[in-house]
């Protein structure tokens, strides 16, 4: 399915000025299908929550649009005006912008950086980024505007870990709150940040309002306000875009695209998404116990993988809006490797393998061994239509080789709990890696069973060694060689079947001049989006004056 690409991708200030953006203003309404979680940066994992906290809080430095994570090339100053590396590269000192202030007027100081690192690094807090920071020894504050990160050893992504993983938080507001109370603190419903938007209001289930911080050290946002409008259903979210109540929806279903094309007020913006979808086998019994009776066998997993025609499945569900992955990575990743060998679609090979493993077809067409049918359940989240469709296709294709698959639809929160406990046979899952190279370590290595998201209990020390080796060198050629070996290993072990790489298409009002939508977070340049003066509608003109009480 073809989709029209938006032509408004410039982020250059001169283009913005020419289009009338020098007069700030405009209200940008984003329609989202779920409410946000408490706006605590430490715990902002859900995409909708990250969209909001990334507007409110700044990092020391931000990843550039090149998404390079090695060294500091391409990184853009944020709270840190500049930084120095120690001669031995084991320390980086960040020099804070003295103009930076929290939205309550208190200056941002190095003690905020030290406090933030202390929370993120605390293994008791249950913060996802903690394991990513394990190689940072400590943070010291030589003076109120300098924070030094000390590393346990040298590695390529030192700078990335010190900057990307942490949104700096205000110690004067959070420092007195006990670690265990942070997640549920009142701050999460009335956050004070330092970003180009300040928190306006949050009406639960209705909308979150962000307002331009006119005195921000990085300059005022071009938009007056951003409203994150909450619709509890996907139909409600898309209806708001069509009715004009919203200006943006981040993910269009193929069924909606024809209507977008027909509406002169709207346009589509395809953008890269680093997510990959996969059928995830649990290699152990619940609670990470004994080897799973089916998926504990490597030949069995390989046989099942080869029974799936991934290309036709992706086309069936996504039309042209998905590609088939080469491994556990998106093609846009800096460590992508499209030359790595994947298991072929070969049902004859599947039949041979299953026969050799002693699973023979019975009268009902299902394979049996020792009186047991070859059967398992795929747990699917009820909230995801594509994943359910994929699971149905897997069910059909595996039935052809004599495997009985039942679908187990489960509400998402329950599913996550079950995954964490290892209480599943197989599941249809999507993983959105962060831009760093070490993401593979968080999902597929042995330590990730305990501290990461290796909920399927995949274990191969050779794979771990290759990943560790790749992450320890700054030599890009060697990085790619090591990752190639790691990908080859994991593809051969088949702990999952890599099914699709989605291509996301956003729907957006034409009057909004949208900037570049970065793959890891489309919203990072939101403060530079604008509505040209001539295209403004009444809600764009209300200004920043407070509403009447």
């Amino acid at each position: 399915m073809a989709c029209r690409s938006g032509d408004r991708t410039s982020n250059r200030p001169e283009d913005a000025a020419a289009a009338g953006a020098s007069t700030p203003g405009g209200t940008f309404v984003i329609s989202i299908p779920v409410d946000a979680e408490p706006l605590i940066p430490f715990y902002a994992n859900q995409a909708q929550t990250r969209l909001i906290v990334d507007q409110l809080f700044d990092r020391l430095a931000d990843l550039g649009d090149s998404l390079n994570t090695i060294g500091d090339r391409g990184f853009v100053p944020r709270l840190a005006q500049r930084w120095d590396w120690s001669p031995d590269s084991l320390a980086i000192t960040f020099h804070l912008d003295p103009r930076a202030r929290w939205h309550d007027g208190v200056p941002v100081r190095s003690n905020d950086v030290r406090y933030t690192f202390g929370i993120y690094a605390d293994t008791a807090a249950g913060i996802d980024a903690t394991t990513q920071l394990a190689q940072i020894d400590s943070v010291t504050t030589p003076d109120s505007l300098s924070a030094t990160f000390w590393f346990k050893h040298r590695y390529p992504e030192q700078f990335f870990d010190a900057t990307f993983q942490m949104l700096i938080c205000p110690e004067h507001l959070l420092g007195k709150i006990k670690l265990a109370d942070l997640r549920t603190s009142a701050f999460g419903h009335n956050p004070v940040g330092d970003g180009r938007f300040r928190f306006g209001s949050w009406s639960p289930g209705v909308a979150v309002t962000l307002v331009a911080d006119t005195a921000n050290y990085r300059g005022r946002a071009l938009l007056d306000r951003v409203i994150v409008s909450i619709s509890p259903t996907p139909a409600g979210a898309i209806a708001k875009l069509f009715s004009g109540d919203a200006d943006f929806i981040e993910l269009l279903h193929p069924d909606d695209m024809a209507a977008i094309r027909a509406d002169p007020r709207l346009t589509m913006r395809p953008y890269t998404d680093p997510s990959y979808g996969f059928l995830w086998f649990n290699l152990r019994t619940p609670n990470h116990g004994r080897p799973h009776p089916i998926f504990g066998s490597r030949p069995m997993r390989r046989a099942l993988s080869m029974a799936l025609d991934r290309a036709s499945m992706a086309r069936n569900v996504f039309d042209t809006l998905a590609m088939v992955p080469h491994g556990p990575f998106a093609n846009s990743s800096q460590v992508a490797d499209t030359t790595v060998a994947a298991l072929p679609y070969d049902t004859a090979a599947t039949d041979r393998t299953l026969d050799s493993l002693g699973w023979h077809r019975g009268a009902d067409g299902i394979r049996h061994k020792n009186g047991q049918p070859l059967a398992f359940a795929i747990t699917v989240p009820t909230s995801s239509k594509p994943r359910t469709q994929m699971a149905v296709l897997v069910q059909d294709q595996l039935a052809r080789v004599g495997v009985r698959v039942t679908l187990d639809p489960v509400e998402l929160r329950t599913l996550v709990t079950r995954l964490q406990k290892g209480d599943f046979d197989a599941t249809m899952w999507v993983w959105k890696p962060d831009p760093g190279m070490s993401d593979l370590r968080q999902t597929w290595t042995i330590p990730a069973e305990r501290f990461g998201a290796n909920w399927g209990s995949y274990e191969n020390p050779a794979f771990d060694a290759d990943v560790d080796s790749a992450l320890a060198t700054s030599d890009l050629a060697r990085v790619h060689t090591d990752f190639h070996r790691a990908y080859t290993t994991i593809n051969g072990d088949a702990p999952a079947v890599w099914l699709y790489l989605p291509i996301q298409v956003a729907g957006i009002a034409r009057r909004v001049h949208a900037g570049y939508m970065r793959p890891d977070a489309w919203w990072v340049h939101l403060a530079d989006w604008y509505v040209p003066v001539k295209d403004r509608i009444p809600r764009d003109r209300i200004g920043l004056a407070a509403a009447a009480p």
Partner: protein, 312 residues
């Protein structure tokens, strides 16, 4: 009973109010223990239940895990919204249902009677969630007459004058209220039509017609009053149906009321909110039943006399 059943069911569901955090092995046991203690989840379920009942008896429904505020405060915000929606729909549905029944009886046996009967049966058989989605997509998207959800325009409403703000609120109310009302009106029409036909052959109506009373007055003044009693009963008893209906309607139309709150609370395992919603819902149902009794007595003088002065 409602409290007990809800308490048991919600605690039987897998998951916890901290997004699985209480079972997350990455979080230290000390932190998890602190959370359990902070939310009273460290006690055995029977103890938690007794404690909850004691607090509820004092009107304290506890503290929401997800909203980080007292459940009473959340209900004070969301319940009036649900009552506005359900109350409006209730009025609309009875007005429309009775009007349809009167037209059907006035044109009894004609094509009009049959068309209205068939149409109301068709609407009555529709699932409310489906009808709501179709109404939303039709009237907010295909023919954009109404907003696509919410109670008010989240951007412009605070900046509107009083009349514009009132109009904005009504404009947002129309579609969800009509959708909710349409489902109920169809059933009420069939109920009212049957009641009217029951009294159609009674002597007092024949007398009224013989006296030359116009047919409209015969129906409106004589037949309707006598055929209203079963529908008045239905008025009170319809309240549970409307409360159930608002759960779906509020979700589809982004109406931030108690129905929507209850669904979100179930998903978030926000135990105190789920139980409070169930308790308040059951109180409203009981209140509806009481209202039906009162209205019945008001409408039927015989009941007033029977419960009034006893015969000597």
């Amino acid at each position: 009973m409602v409290t007990t059943a809800t308490f048991v069911l919600v605690h039987l569901a897998p998951g916890d109010p901290l997004g699985g955090g209480l079972d997350d092995p990455r979080i230290s046991e000390a932190v998890r223990a602190h959370w359990r203690a902070a939310y009273g989840l460290d006690q055995p379920l029977p103890v938690q239940f007794v404690r909850y009942l004691a607090n509820a008896a004092h009107g304290q429904f506890g503290y929401s895990f997800a909203y980080n505020e007292s459940v009473g405060g959340i209900l004070a915000r969301t319940l009036p919204r649900t009552l506005l929606l359900a109350g409006t729909a209730l009025m609309l549905s009875f007005a429309a249902g009775i009007a349809m029944a009167l037209v059907q009886v006035a044109r009894h046996g004609t094509a009009t009677d049959r068309v209205i009967g068939a149409a109301s049966l068709a609407v009555y058989s529709l699932p409310d969630f489906w009808l709501a989605q179709v109404a939303l997509l039709t009237f907010a998207y295909v023919v954009p007459l109404f907003p696509a959800g919410g109670m008010v325009d989240p951007v412009m409403h605070p900046y509107m004058g009083p009349m514009a703000a009132l109009w904005d609120r009504l404009h947002h109310l129309v579609l969800p209220a009509l959708t909710l009302a349409a489902l109920a009106a169809a059933g009420i029409a069939r109920f009212q039509r049957a009641a009217l036909l029951d009294v159609a052959a009674d002597d007092y109506l024949r007398t009224a017609r013989a006296k030359g009373v116009p047919e409209r007055s015969v129906l409106m003044r004589h037949a309707l009053r006598n055929a209203a009693l079963p529908v008045i009963t239905l008025f009170g008893l319809a309240l549970p149906g409307f409360l159930g209906g608002t759960v779906f309607i509020e979700k589809v139309f982004s109406w931030p009321g108690m129905g929507s709150l209850a669904v979100d609370a179930v998903a978030a395992r926000d135990y105190p909110v789920v139980i409070a919603c169930a308790v308040v819902g059951s109180m409203l149902v009981a209140g509806g039943s009481f209202l039906a009794d009162v209205l019945y007595a008001v409408a039927d003088p015989r009941l007033r006399r029977a419960s009034g002065a006893a015969p000597p």
